[in-house]
Amino acid sequence: MNPITEIAPQLLRGLQTTLTVLLASALFSYLMAFIGGLCRLSKNFLLRKFTGLYIEIFRGTSLIVQLFWLYYAIPILFDIDLASNWVIGVIAIGLNYGAYLSEVVRSSILSVAPGQSEAATALNMSSFQRMRFVIFPQAVRMMLPEFGNYTIQMLKGTALISLIGLRDIFYYGDIMRSTNLAHAPLIYAVVLIFYFILALPLIFFTRKAEEIAKKGVAS
């Protein structure tokens, strides 16, 4: 069986699903990360505790369990099959990694030296301006490598969506394997290489981000 002419075209059929789920869940998780991270630092006690609960529940259990749970719960909670499996996959991955990244956002903001905020106060900035012009730009530089790392984790996580019936790269690989058992090693190897190729830009981004983070922090 030829990996390039026979296996790759089959796997390519799943590329769109893998990529769209990755993209949507990554954006969703980034959004959750900033909301969650900022809420954790809020002065409002209830908001802080509620966000903490979200973060601990999603970090304390597994993505696969959350995915299955939402797969069964969302249709019941919203009564009808409103949500497609694609949406469920995006929500599960987004909420899970959003929780991890919330902590990244929170700790990055906290790690900006207190002197920075003091200098901004001395220039009479409001608390919003302090965040917007001084704290946040520095915190974001520190976050970037972790965002890269977790996006790679999200790519790995997308392989689970075939378990709820989405036709991603892994799904098509598995279909091929079931009819060509003798070629299973080769097929899975090509599947893995597919995922690795998708991960490569993220790996390079993460390395670059590490350099930026190192440079941006030293004053």
């Binding site: 002197g115 920075q116 003091e118 200098a119 009479n124 012009f133 941006g216 922090v217 004053s219």
Partner: protein
């Protein structure tokens, strides 16, 4: 007689159960140069940090240009100031820090420009010209597009002073601005301070360990000891005529 621009009235400050300041009464007049000296741990820095709103007094009042800094009137009673009030009062105050606290993600020019533009809403073109002028004045006209990490400590501190000056404060606070510098870089920073003191008409408060320098440029010297102002007066008064034993001991350590 002119009104003081800053007035401390029985100001106390404690951190946990440590009483750092035990009743400070102090007037600072427009254009007056005040030096605060005293052993470390005496609360010198805390005095100016409260004026910059970085530290809240435990009790007492600080009046800036006739307005109470930490309290405001609400429905006829005085309540704790909110951020809006603090911002409206502290706008005339600028501060230079021991550890510079330049913004590492901005160029030196951007460090100077960001507050006038975003805080005071001034015209960008005008602010840029003024910032460049100010950076030239502190001798860094050739570095405006560099980042803070590319500068020496002395250069960073000069940028920090330019950044504060561009805001045109009426009161400038200097918090041990030479303490974090290598000895050979102290001179260039003191020179800039002297230039400001001689040519600008703002009030200045210096917390410093550079005794000779402080006594030289200051109109008024405060000796802070164990949380109270133990001695105050003109430089000559304080140095030559003081009967305060602790002050003499303190000075002798610096003057050999």
């Amino acid at each position: 007689m002119t009104e003081p621009i800053v007035r401390y009235q029985d100001v106390h400050k404690s951190f946990g159960d440590i009483n750092v300041l035990k009743g400070i009464d102090l007037d600072i007049f427009p254009a007056e140069k005040v030096a605060i000296i005293g052993p470390s741990g005496s609360g010198k820095t805390t005095i100016i940090r409260m004026l910059m709103t970085l530290e809240e007094p435990s009790s007492g009042d600080i009046i800036v240009d006739g307005t109470n800094l930490w309290k405001m009137k609400k429905n006829g009673t005085m309540v704790e100031a909110n951020e809006k009030h603090l911002r409206s009062v502290r706008g005339d105050i600028g501060m230079v820090f021991q550890h510079f606290n330049l913004f590492p993600h901005m160029t030196i020019l951007e460090n100077c420009m960001t507050a006038p533009i975003h805080v005071k809403g001034e015209d960008k073109q005008e602010v840029e010209e003024r910032s460049i002028q100010m950076l030239e004045r502190v001798g860094l006209g050739d570095k405006i597009h560099n980042y803070p990490s590319q500068l020496s400590g002395g250069q960073k501190q000069r940028v920090a002073m330019a950044r504060a000056l561009v805001m045109r404060p009426k009161i400038m606070l200097f918090d041990e601005v030479t303490s974090a510098l290598d000895p050979e870089l102290v001179g260039e920073v003191l020179e800039v301070i002297r230039d400001i003191a001689e040519n600008d008409d703002m009030a200045m408060v210096l917390v410093t360990h550079e005794m000779d320098f402080a006594l030289d440029i200051a109109d008024k010297v405060l000796f802070l000891d164990e949380g109270v102002i133990a001695e105050q007066g003109s430089a000559t008064d304080v140095i030559e005529h003081s009967q305060n034993e602790r002050l003499r001991e303190f000075l002798s350590r610096f003057r050999g």
